[in-house]
Amino acid sequence: MVEAGTIQTIEVTVNGEKHRATVASRQLLVHFLRDSLAMKGTHIGCDTGSCGACTVIIDGRLTKSCMLLAPQADGAEIETIEGVAPDGQLTPVQEAFHEQHGLQCGYCTPGLVMAATFLLRRNPDPTEDEIRRAIRGNICRCTGYVNIVRSIASAAAREAA
């Protein structure tokens, strides 16, 4: 059992770059990414793992980074929104969100782009139902999901072409 105020050293790889950092044992991974590494693209919309704004990919698994303490990510490889298209370009998923008006305020968008990216890596040709299931853990209050579903379907079609 680690005390609340304890400090730990962790080493994580974020978007291919290794970071060694000292963190409070109780710090949430999402706060570590945002506050310590200054990667502000991963967002926070709730405190209960319900909304998906903080979704990242950890060791190949889609994960809500508010549901993990930073020390639990010690040794992990983390992929965030800042890393999906490292050269400043947009990935086909991001392009599709742009073309299909799949975002409005943009707050849920990084989490949804991560969820969509993860889905298409495992299932390049999803049905509408599979798309909806894949993003059921990501809340969007602006779009009614219509254009998000279209964006992901369109990205799949584009990658297949």
């Binding site: 609340a4 409070a24 109780r26 710090q27 706060h31 945002r34 506050d35 990667m39 502000k40 693209g41 991963t42 967002h43 926070i44 919309g45 709730c46 405190d47 209960t48 319900s50 909304c51 704004a53 965030t80 929104i81 800042e82 298209a85 400043g88 947009l90 991001q94 969100f97 742009h98 073309e99 008006h101 975002l103 409005q104 305020c105 943009g106 707050y107 849920c108 968008t109 990084p110 782009v113 509408e128 798309i131 909806r132 299931r133 993003i135 059921r136 853990g137 990501n138 809340i139 969007c140 209050r141 602006c142 779009t143 009614g144 999901y145 219509v146 254009n147 998000i148 579903v149």
Partner: protein
């Protein structure tokens, strides 16, 4: 009262009316937006509020000692201390006696709802601030709570604000036409005992947040926040803090959804300013979701009692009367403006001539309400749609035909309502036909008949007819309180030509996904004859560089009118300057100058041309070439304030032109109810929008989708409910089921464009959507109940409530509706 038609109408240009891709997208898709929690300041501390666990309690004492003992805790501010630092309580919109409410940035003496903030802590880290808040010892003496809006109005109810002497925040009778005559002369009177519109919120995905710094050197207070109506916030908190508006500076860049809810963050911002002043440090605050659910503001709950509807035997509805009780929660934040705002749409989509609403707004031990998408109109519009469906149900009319018979007809625009509002344009019957075609209503009607009894399923077809009134006349506030110095509306914009001939625009608005950067660039590009990419619209709002008026912000379905008219007006001023300077340079007449692709040409002679960079050069860095008399005439920095043509409404008769535009939304849907579980599945859904000329159709469609999903969520899943002690039952996304991608249907859209004759660009404000899904889902459930006695009388219909409706006849509850028919007034066949 009429509204003057706008003098000029710009034609659809190269960009206006096109699906120009959004310029906001790139940064947001790359995670490079700047939201409230993305802002840091050197030396900042993190704030966390201490909130009341009680619905109603006397605050006996607040002791911060244990919190302050923790290493890294900078300061604690209590309600008493905050009051001492304030010049005056927050300004109240309400007249006497509710105008006597004394609200300060933190609760003093009493906590009036579960989540009311009684103190705020500043510490080195987020976690520490939260821990320390838990160590602030508050001694409460619990008091009886009142959570029912009708009971709150009773003289014996526990009082929230003793000095007011009542929980009634506002009461008035709206009476237009002659409802008593109508009820006496109607063939049928349909009486509905009680309709209940429930509490919910659009719960923006980004919670409230701010970095507030009371600079000890200059006494300038900067507020970098996601408040969506910063000038209103400034006008409320400035006098309380004793800070002049030229030293109280708001800014924001990206806002993660707001929907009206983020109008309500000003009390917290005021508390943070005081905390910053006390601690001598910048204060950073990011609300946790639970804090948001408890205290950021909910939409208005409303009860309609003893509704009586006057109906003729051919289905013509003469009008109705009702007693409305609106629940504003523990304090009046923006209220009681809701007590008049509904009257923008007093007759809904219909030609009712006789309307009487006895309206009471009460204070209860619940979270204060704030404007929530469709603010105050959707409650009333929902009640009207229930009236239509219940009249159809009770008297045997077809709900489609009954609507069409009573709709305002396309040849009647501009149509003046009984309270003097002017509906600008539209075609409601055609919109309904399109919606019904989109869902293949005829086929579903057949399927409904085939299904028959014993299948365990019921199918229902529903309609939601609604209006999205936009561009308020703030003079309607005087119907609430004649002493208020508010009227009209407006928005400001700057358009300038920059040093090398680039075009820059900045706006008074605070967009939260409504694509202002994209659409303002479309309008300005068309006026100046440049490409869309050549126009840079500053992202977000910053009081230090943007222009504004007191109405500035983003709320109430008005940007397409007010914001874009301001941008258009400023661009036209700049165009005149550019043309005159070019005429001088080219030795031509100003009337001969054309602008295209960022260059000024003499008409018919493309060789005589000067690019914008040349024009900019003459003013900024080469002005000795200009004749003396021209030098101070041109700045290439042009400001325009768009002011709509309003007059002050009559506070006695409660009549006036309260809104400039009326977009319409006609929705139709098909639902299937599982009789065993009460589950409602949406089988088909269509929304038909008419918002006049669409500047960017794809963006309009996106707004329609979003408003529809939020309405569906509210209709079927989302509710804020309090127990009798005032405990909120849904304080997280576990309990408050925000609609997900699995719940939401594919939404079909259709549109017609009836340009508004009253706006400079023919557009109508839109985006709020008027709550049509709530109307449509209730209508469909009613339809699925068929000839059963049960009536849909609540706007929230989760499985359990629907199950009860389906099985109600088995237990013989009172129906809640009755019909009195006079001689000759036989029900329709």
């Amino acid at each position: 009262m009429t509204t003057t038609p706008a003098e000029t109408q710009i034609e659809i240009g190269r960009y206006v009316g096109q699906n120009v891709p959004r310029v906001e997208d790139r940064r947001l898709l790359q995670g490079q937006g700047e939201f409230a929690d993305d802002v840091w300041m050197h030396r900042q501390g993190y704030a966390h509020f201490v909130r009341s666990p009680h619905g109603h309690a006397r605050i006996v004492s607040v002791n911060p000692r244990r919190a302050l003992e923790l290493d890294g805790v900078y300061a604690v501010l209590t309600g008493e201390e905050a009051k001492e630092m304030c010049q005056v309580p927050f300004f109240q919109i309400a007249p006497e006696p509710a105008g006597r409410i004394e609200e300060y940035p933190l609760a003093v003496d009493k906590a009036r709802y579960h989540g009311d903030a009684v103190a705020v802590v500043l510490a080195e880290t987020r976690e520490l601030a939260r821990d320390a808040a838990g160590l602030v010892e508050v001694d409460y003496e619990p008091l009886p709570a009142v959570v029912d809006t009708v009971a709150a109005a009773d003289s014996g109810a526990p009082l929230l604000h003793e000095q007011v002497g009542t929980n009634v925040a506002w009461h008035g009778v709206y009476d237009w036409g002659d409802i008593d005559w109508a009820l006496e002369n109607a063939d049928h009177v349909v009486e509905i005992d009680r309709l209940h519109f429930h509490r919910f919120s659009s719960t923006p995905l980004e919670c409230n947040g701010a970095v507030v710094n009371w600079d000890p050197g200059t006494d300038v207070v900067t507020v970098t926040s996601n408040n969506q109506m910063p000038m209103f916030a400034s006008m409320v908190i400035g006098p309380t803090l004793g800070v002049a508006s030229n030293r109280l500076l708001f800014s924001s860049q990206d806002i993660g959804g707001a929907f009206g809810i983020k109008i309500g963050s000003y009390p917290q911002i005021a508390a943070l300013a005081l905390l910053s002043r006390k601690a001598g440090r910048p204060v950073k605050w990011t609300e946790y979701r639970t804090d948001h659910m408890l205290s950021a503001g909910h939409g208005n709950e409303r009860v309609f009692l003893d509704t009586k509807v006057a109906v003729m035997k051919d289905g013509t509805i003469l009008g109705f009367k009702t007693r409305a009780f609106d629940d504003a929660g523990g304090y009046l934040h923006y209220e009681p403006l809701g007590a008049v705002i509904w009257s923008q749409v007093c007759c809904g989509c219909y030609r009712f001539k006789h309307i009487q609403v006895d309206y009471t707004e009460t204070l209860t031990n619940k979270c204060p309400t704030v404007p929530n998408r469709g603010y105050s109109r959707l409650q009333h519009l929902w009640a009207i749609e229930r009236v239509i469906d219940l009249v159809a149900h009770e008297l045997g009319f077809d709900p489609v035909e009954l609507r069409k018979r009573n709709y305002v007809q396309p040849d009647e625009y501009p149509y003046e309502t009984p309270n003097g509002c002017v509906y600008d344009s539209g075609d409601l019957p055609r919109s309904l036909d399109i919606a019904l075609e989109l869902i293949h209503a005829d086929r579903w009607r057949e399927r409904q008949r085939e299904l028959g009894q014993g299948s365990g399923k019921r199918i229902g077809i529903g309609i939601g007819s609604t209006l999205d009134s936009g561009t308020n006349n703030f003079g309607q506030a005087r119907i609430i309180n004649p002493d208020l110095p508010f009227s009209g509306n407006g928005e400001a914009a700057y358009v300038k030509l920059d040093l090398y001939g680039e075009v820059n625009v900045n706006l008074g608005t605070t967009p939260q996904g409504q694509s202002h950067e994209t659409t303002a660039a479309q309008v300005v590009a068309d006026v100046l004859g440049v490409t869309h990419e050549m126009v840079h619209v500053t992202a977000g709002f910053d009081q230090r560089q943007n222009t504004y008026v007191a109405f500035s912000g983003t709320y109430a379905s008005q940007f397409a009118v007010t914001g874009l008219a301001a941008a258009q007006g400023a661009a036209e001023k700049l165009r005149r300057e550019i043309v005159e300077l070019a005429a001088f340079a080219l030795q031509a007449d100003a009337g001969e100058i054309d602008l295209a692709d960022g260059t000024c040409y003499v008409r018919g002679d493309r060789d005589r041309a000067i690019p914008f960079i040349g024009v900019a050069n003459m003013v900024y860095s080469n002005n000795a070439v200009l004749p003396m008399e021209m030098r101070d005439r041109y700045s290439l920095n042009c400001r325009h304030v768009y002011v709509p043509p309003f007059q002050v409404p009559d506070s006695e008769t409660k009549r006036g032109n309260l809104t400039l535009t009326y977009a319409s939304q006609i929705h139709a849907c098909v639902v299937e109810i599982d009789e065993e579980t009460g589950e409602v599945a949406i089988l088909d859904y269509a929304a038909v929008d008419d918002c006049g000329r669409r500047i960017n159709p794809k963006i309009v469609e996106g707004q329609v989708h979003g408003a529809t999903a939020l309405g569906l969520g509210a209709a079927l899943y989302e509710a804020f409910e309090y127990d009798e002690d005032g405990q909120l039952q849904q304080a997280s996304f576990y309990d408050y089921h925000a609609i997900t991608a699995l719940d939401a249907p594919e939404i079909k859209t259709g549109e017609i464009e009836s340009p508004s004759p009253f706006t400079p660009n023919g557009a109508k404000g839109m985006g709020e959507g008027g709550g049509a899904p709530l109307h449509a889902i209730c209508s469909a459930i009613q339809d699925a109940l068929g000839d059963r006695d049960a009536i849909v009388s609540d706007s929230h219909n989760p499985w359990e409530r629907v199950w009860r409706l389906v099985h109600s006849g088995e237990r013989g509850e009172p129906r809640g509706v009755s019909v009195i028919s006079r001689s000759g007034g036989e029900p329709a066949p």
